[in-house]
Subunit: 311 residues, 2 copies
């Protein structure tokens, strides 16, 4: 694959392949110390939810940000696997009938369609819990203080003050709780909602490399600026795909935001304005990484990829 | 309260009060570092799910097992608060329409009844995530290696090889996935299911004190034996309450196991046999703690309380 492709795509593919192998191994049938049994149906459904798909862009960000500090790749992949478990759990719960009620994900039946709703709830709970199991293992980093810093950071990025809180705000924006239709959000509210719902995990991905690599405060700040820009760009590109994308290519239903009457950066800025903002965010991402020089070229390409993706 | 009560009840009440104060403080409106905002609806629902009720028996076990090793009480309470968040999340998700479909919990409307189903899903996700946030804080223990050991242990007790796996087995036992009615489980299957679904968290509660207190392998083994016996006793008492209890006292609907045709230790051993087994388990719990002498008297009382509880 990609024999003539640019180095970025080669690296993205390599991480996706490594991630698939690692998750496959971590989610094997043999219980770890302290586990009694891994029930076959639940394990199968957790594997269905997390294997065999996805660009693994978040693990890619962990691996490449860690590579700036010569972190052993296997450590970065472990942190990436934990993050991917959180990402996959959030998709499973987000797709539930009481949430977004989606039947398709990456072109396949969602977990509650392929299995059933109770299993899907437990799959999400199991993957979220497993993320912290993975982070806590010595294979993630030999220093317990580094591992615990990752645990704090992932919990904050994923929890009430991050992703889960953002999901609640997203449902509120659709008018789910108050009646009276969708909330009339301005740019400020939309940016905050998205920074929590999707931005927080992407920001974690970029800063995790700095935690693993014991980066200086200046280096961490640079990675945070990069991660914030990438998070914003990711969401705008996602919103553009929802408006302009082909459901068959995107692998899930499109046109949902407009149907829900939900404000996005695309509805606020228009298509051309959103694309101009994307270019600006890519420039911000590139500038943030300037101190790392050419070592950060792949991450810069990653920001361009996010802004220009078609699926 | 309990001015003339035995020391056990005084200590149980004291931990419940401390736990209420700590959870109230941890779930305040102010975001921590790395959090953006705590959305009011989600925070309110998380507080509804976790404050104002419960005997806090799991935190009590953490506090009392930690006290054997002179662990500062505030550290034990932090670990207990994390565990209580996991316990409360599991109740919220367990009560969902797609799971047990319960309208009452501790005599109050369940979270999806008091709020809505989407909020209840996110409350569970938020509480589970928050548990690992709490465990990772320096207030739980100054040594990161101790905190990370707690993270591993709680993740294993709660995840696919513990509580979540046990919930899946429990639904399977009701015949939810295969059709053809409830599975005809024998004692061995029932014990394994219950050891995972309810036993794993109780076992964690008893061993957490040993982790916090850097106990010797022999001491940890003693706490594990105690925790296993308490876990089994807890579940038998719960099953007895489901058969013999008064819904108004128990605070949730009763008679559910028989209605679901589910095998329990009570259906397998009969009421008298189950009560004999309870007495045996209390004796095992007491014997396990013999090496600690009179310092463990409160924990022994705890085992008796579990076996004899009426609500």
């Amino acid at each position: 694959m990609h024999a003539n492709a640019n180095p970025f795509l080669v690296r993205l593919d390599a991480t996706a392949k490594d991630m698939e192998e690692l998750l496959d191994r971590l989610m094997g049938p043999t219980p770890e110390d302290g586990e009694m049994e891994r029930p076959a149906r639940l394990l199968g459904a957790m594997r269905y939810a997390s294997l065999g798909g996805g660009k693994r862009f978040r693990p890619f960000l962990v691996a490449e940000s860690a590579a700036l500090f010569d972190v052993p790749r296997q450590q970065a992949l472990m942190a990436g696997a934990a993050l991917e478990c959180v990402h996959c759990y959030s998709l499973v719960h987000d797709d539930l009938p009481a949430m977004d009620n989606d039947a398709l994900r990456r072109g396949q039946p969602t977990v509650h369609k392929a299995y059933d709703e109770a299993t899907a709830i437990l799959v999400g709970d199991g993957l979220l819990t497993f993320a912290f199991d993975i982070l806590s293992r010595p294979q993630t980093h030999p220093d317990a203080a580094v591992r615990i810093e990752l645990v704090t950071a992932l919990a904050r990025a994923s929890g009430i003050g991050g992703m889960v809180g953002g999901q609640l705000l997203d449902l509120a924006a659709e008018g789910r709780f108050m009646g009276g239709g969708p909330q009339q959000h301005g740019e400020r509210e939309v940016l905050k909602l998205q920074a929590m719902k999707t931005g927080a995990l992407l920001l974690f991905a970029c800063t995790a490399g700095g935690i693993l690599g014991s980066a200086t405060p200046q280096q961490r700040e640079a990675l945070s600026r990069y991660g914030l820009a990438v998070g914003k760009a990711f969401q705008i590109a996602d919103d553009l795909l929802d408006v302009e994308g082909d459901a068959a290519l995107v692998g899930k239903n499109t046109g949902k935001d407009a149907a829900a009457g939900k404000a996005t950066m695309v509805s606020l800025l228009g298509g051309a304005g959103a694309k101009a903002r994307l270019r600006q965010l890519v420039a911000e991402a590139e500038e943030a990484l300037a101190p790392f020089g050419s070592a950060a070229a792949i991450l810069v390409e990653g920001a361009r990829f996010v802004a220009n993706r078609h699926a």
